[in-house]
Subunit: 186 residues, 2 copies
């Protein structure tokens, strides 16, 4: 597995704060390596996700890039990379799950997600447009389901090194425990 980077296009300050944050949290929780945000610069999101890393562990990378066309083209030209666009107009995720699993073993994946308005050219830049159901939907859910299909169910049970806290799963109520450094070096 070479790793998956999520590219969030067209982020708008304030208006997209929560959706972009949810995309980043889901990308991190389900095992993507990184997220790149294009559009408006928004340091609050980046700081928020870095706080999540400190509390819950892992080294999920998040960064801002003003320029996205050249970035996509660079990835698309690499023989060891696969560029996917999540869109309701793409081929159904179920019909390409096998291919995605196979390719993800050998290639790095760039998973592009848009915001409400997607520039028309984006629909032609990726190697493959993938639909998580061909219904109007959510980029947050698209990230979740694409990562779950590629990584398999183990993506729902990840824990991360360097965490300060961890959840004690319970069928009722709410329990969190602190994790001492010594526990992490087992």
């Amino acid at each position: 597995m070479r790793g998956i980077t999520v590219l969030r296009l067209g982020h708008r300050l304030h208006r997209d704060f929560r959706i972009t944050t949810h995309c980043a949290l889901v990308a991190r929780a389900l095992g993507a390596s990184a997220m790149i945000i294009a559009g408006d610069r928004d340091d609050d999101i980046i700081k928020g996700i870095q706080r999540v890393n400190r509390a819950w562990g892992g080294d999920f990378q998040i960064e801002y890039r003003k320029e996205w066309r050249a970035l996509i083209n660079r990835w698309a030209s690499r023989a060891d990379a696969l560029v996917i666009l999540a869109t309701m107009y793409g081929v159904n995720l179920l019909d390409v799950t096998k291919r995605l699993r196979k390719e993800s073993a050998e290639k790095e994946i760039l998973l592009i997600i848009g915001s409400e308005k997607m520039p028309a050219e984006v629909f032609h830049l990726a190697d493959l447009n993938v639909a998580v159901s061909n219904q109007p939907h959510s980029e947050v859910a698209a990230v979740a389901l694409i990562l779950e299909k590629i990584f398999g169910s183990r993506s729902l049970k990840r824990s991360f090194e360097g965490r300060t806290y961890e959840v004690v799963p319970r069928s009722s109520g709410k329990q969190v425990k602190g994790v001492r450094d010594s526990d992490l070096r087992e």
Copy 2:
């Protein structure tokens, strides 16, 4: 399968407009029967989802209820219903997938999702608290992954009766076709 209703707690006008809308779109796309919104009344979301029904079909129900405690208690007291709360503090979805599939064959399910601040009592009202990964996450992704696990992968390929449009899935570009009434009666 008796049907799944999503209950969105603590909706706040403006602030939660897009996240709640995404939850509703995902609930509809993946096969829930209905969503109930509690918190601030927000007719724009309800109208927006009804427009989606008209364009893309189906009879996904969406409504507002001011009162949620009695509603949850009513569901929780029914022998033919199962009340689930989606929370990162719950038992991992993977550990209860079988149970959820089995129970969903016999029982109606109420799937509760919260917003940022969840009243503490909610953690004790459900029959079962379920975590989609025990990491900070997103209620949009929780709805997506819980429905996908309960319904199985077919949930990603639903189309709905009475639709005006449908997507022609493509690996690149974007194509939608109109659906004539006569096509729907096959």
